[in-house]
């Protein structure tokens, strides 16, 4: 640290300028604006609001429902995205020949933009003519209004699209972690008579602990940030049954022109994500400590 020179700052400047202008600056502004009746169409912060914006958000049923939908989406997507990607990585790692094909196939959807995957899945879920309607009818499901038009299933539809889309990222992280595990360990275990299942449970899972922790944390944060797919696939509908926190914030800021109220909601969401991240860290620390202790 003592060796930091003015030149270092010079090299950092281009990045820092953008980071301050587009990240730190707006974030600080957001904290201030949340205490004012700031409007999109007027310059400046506007009249002082005190805690009004926060109190309003606490009292709004649609704010709580948007938070719940965000959490609901997180609950729907995080377990499959972590477990399925782990399974896929383990299986791919065992493939001797043509591994590149599986790596490519599982990762490919991830490179698509959210607009593209949303379109694809809206087509898939089109009532009565979509791809999904055929297997749905074969297992005896009512076609009805379609998965995305029914308030009780719309979020599941969005979750399925998201899992298909982003699983490749976690898959790659797990695969990299797997390839770091020395082969000798497996050979030793095999010599000791461990079955493949025992090898996975006793060797792979514990040795991947750090990767798993990272994947879970990244995944929770990514899922809490859900916006694109909801906006593109259902626009928060039917009604407000899939409206998520960021959707509500966008509507408040840019449709209702109420930057102040939207800032308050953003601050609350920021705090929630922070708390969840801290809890996750604490839990994984405790887990690691207990393991090392035993």
């Amino acid at each position: 640290m003592r060796h930091r020179t003015p030149q270092a700052w010079l090299f950092l400047t281009p990045f820092v300028v953008f980071y301050v202008a587009f990240m730190i600056g707006p974030t600080v502004w957001m904290f201030f604006a949340s205490f004012f009746h700031t409007s999109t169409v007027h310059s400046g912060l506007g009249p002082f609001a005190g805690l009004d914006n926060y109190l309003e958000m606490f009292g709004r049923a649609d704010f709580w429902s948007a938070l719940w939908h965000t959490l609901q989406f997180t609950l729907y997507t995080v377990p499959p995205l972590v477990i399925l990607s782990f399974v896929m990585a383990v299986l791919t790692n065992r493939v001797a020949r043509g591994q590149w094909f599986f790596r490519l196939a599982f990762f490919l959807p991830f490179i698509l933009p959210s607009a593209t995957i949303s379109l694809i899945w809206v087509f898939v879920f089109t009532p009565s003519t979509g791809l999904w309607s055929l297997p749905a009818r074969m297992v005896g499901l009512e076609p009805g209004a379609g998965i995305l038009s029914d308030p009780s299933t719309a979020m599941i539809g969005i979750a399925i699209a998201t899992i298909w889309w982003t699983i490749g990222f976690n898959f790659v992280l797990f695969l990299a972690g797997l390839q770091d595990i020395p082969r000798e360990l497996y050979e030793a275990a095999a010599v000791d008579g461990a079955t493949p299942w025992q090898q996975i449970v006793r060797l792979t899972v514990p040795l991947l602990n750090r990767t798993t922790g990272l994947v879970i944390l990244l995944q929770i944060i990514a899922s809490l940030k859900i916006f694109d797919q909801v906006y593109l696939m259902t626009e928060g509908g039917p009604g407000i049954s899939t409206q998520v926190a960021l959707g509500l914030i966008t509507d408040t800021a840019f449709t209702s022109n109420r930057i102040g109220a939207a800032s308050a909601a953003s601050v609350l969401l920021f705090l929630i994500i922070l708390v969840i991240a801290i809890i996750q860290q604490v839990v994984s620390r405790v887990g690691t400590a207990r393991e090392e202790g035993s």
Binding site: S39, H42, A145
Partner: protein
């Protein structure tokens, strides 16, 4: 979901007091490159330098898709033929809340279009927010327009705070589409094959009963599932036909002033039609159309713009009529597409040019009217050509008693207000809520908006 890299910021050359050799060279290269780019006055250079696009070019934003979009493009082409290929830069954006957000942000960011389209009811909150330049009598006179050139109802509706805020292109009322085959069997067509006069609740309900006997089911379809605007249009039309009707909102949206008795009367009536089996209890936008097109019902209510869809159905014999007067007076929900001048520093020449563009569009009102909209520009409305246009001419008069949504900072076509209220009205039609419950839910859900100060 995941972060995308931020967009590159506009590059500006900065004057620096202490210029090193290397920076001088760099600045020179940058200046040289910007000069060449600016010389072409491309949109790219204008965007990078924050300068105005060639001031001779009219930048025009609109929100027209579908048949309207095609017709608007024809009108733009005609303008280009007269004023030169590069005289107009037209951008079409998706309609709805995001359109007005973009317009607002572009204006606040000092990069608005020269002319934009807005719904009349949405121009009001834009005006309140200081997004619009008023249009003066001098502007109008400069291109030979006067107040009398416009439909009186639409013109009156756009005047706000004593100023002209928008120039109406059309009025688009809620209308009645009817299936001629079904109505013929029900004995509801006159000698010319047109729908007979159905003024008065008794006559209308008798007609519904007759149609229902023919179709052995529905008589009239009005979309109410996954659709919030249509239930609102339906309600607002019938409600305003009552003498006791008051505005739904007052004080720019701070007060809910709806007349409860009238609300309950209209929604009770709608529910009774569903109970009789005349009106659908749950149909989405597209199915409410196809049901009537295929003879599953006789009447179908929607804005006149669906004329293009109806005309595209092979073998469909349909007619259009104004929504009959069922209660005390004539009224129909409507809005207008208007031209607005977003707030901007303009030279007198640029103002004149923008007005000329608007005038050129108004003069092509007939092209526009083929898509169903009733022209607001009276010379076009009164032309023999339009007066002979079928089925447009049969409902054109309803523009004269059009009722617009009440001004509110969260109101207007496709707004938060319409979607909040429309959703509850749709549920009444579905039989999920009683009219009383719907009114209670509307009051509760609008409370967020009535109790917070307008951000405009």
């Amino acid at each position: 979901m995941r972060n995308r890299p931020p967009r590159a910021a506009p590059v500006r050359s900065v004057e620096s007091p202490a210029i090193s050799r290397r920076r001088l060279f760099g600045a020179g290269a940058l200046a040289a490159s910007t000069l060449t780019v600016a010389g072409c006055s491309t949109p790219l250079a204008a965007g990078l330098l924050g300068t105005q696009l060639d001031p001779e070019v009219i930048v025009y934003w609109n929100l027209f898709g579908g048949g309207d979009g095609v017709r608007m493009q024809d009108m733009e082409t005609a303008y280009r033929e007269e004023y030169g290929e590069s005289s107009l830069q037209a951008t079409t954006l998706t309609w709805g809340n995001p359109y007005y957000s973009k317009l607002t942000l572009a204006t606040v960011g000092n990069q608005p279009p020269d002319v934009a389209v807005a719904h009349l009811t949405r121009a009001k909150p834009l005006w309140t927010g200081g997004i619009l330049d008023p249009i003066t009598e001098k502007d109008l006179a400069g291109v030979g327009l006067t107040t009398e050139d416009f439909n009186a109802q639409a013109w009156k509706a756009q005047v706000t705070d004593g100023q002209n805020i928008a120039i109406p292109l059309d009025t688009h009322p809620f209308t009645l589409f009817y299936n001629k085959e079904v109505c013929d069997q029900a004995g509801l067509l006159d000698a010319d094959g047109l729908l007979v006069d159905l003024t008065g609740m008794d006559a209308f309900e008798a007609a519904l009963a007759e149609i229902s006997a023919v179709t052995e089911g529905l008589a009239i379809t009005v979309a109410n599932v996954a659709e919030t605007s249509t239930p609102w249009r339906f309600f607002w039309t019938l409600y305003n036909q009552l003498d006791a009707a008051t505005p739904f909102l007052e004080d720019d949206g701070a007060t809910i002033s709806v007349d409860e008795e009238s609300f309950l009367e209209v929604m009770g009536r709608i529910q009774s039609w569903v109970d009789q089996g005349w009106l659908n209890s749950a149909l989405d936008y597209a199915t409410s159309q196809t049901t009537m097109f295929t003879g599953g019902s006789g009447f179908y209510l929607q804005g006149e713009w669906e004329i293009s869809t109806a005309q595209s159905i092979d073998g469909l014999e349909f007619g259009m009529a104004p929504i009959p007067q069922l209660y005390d007076r004539q009224a129909v929900q409507a809005d207008s597409h208007t031209f607005i001048l977003p707030r901007k520093d303009r030279s007198p020449e640029q103002r004149q040019q923008a007005m000329e563009f608007i005038k050129a569009m108004l003069e092509q009102s007939f092209t526009w009217a083929e898509g169903g909209h009733v022209p607001s520009y009276m010379p076009a409305f009164e032309s023999a050509e339009y007066q002979a246009l079928e089925p447009q001419k049969y409902y054109a008069a309803s523009a004269d008693y059009a009722v617009y949504d009440d001004p509110a900072w969260y109101g207007g076509s496709g707004s938060t207000f319409e979607s909040t209220v429309g959703a509850q009205l749709g549920l009444v039609q579905q039989g999920v809520l009683t009219p009383e419950q719907a009114l209670q839910a509307i009051r509760a859900q609008l409370e967020i908006y009535t109790s917070t100060p307008s951000p405009l």
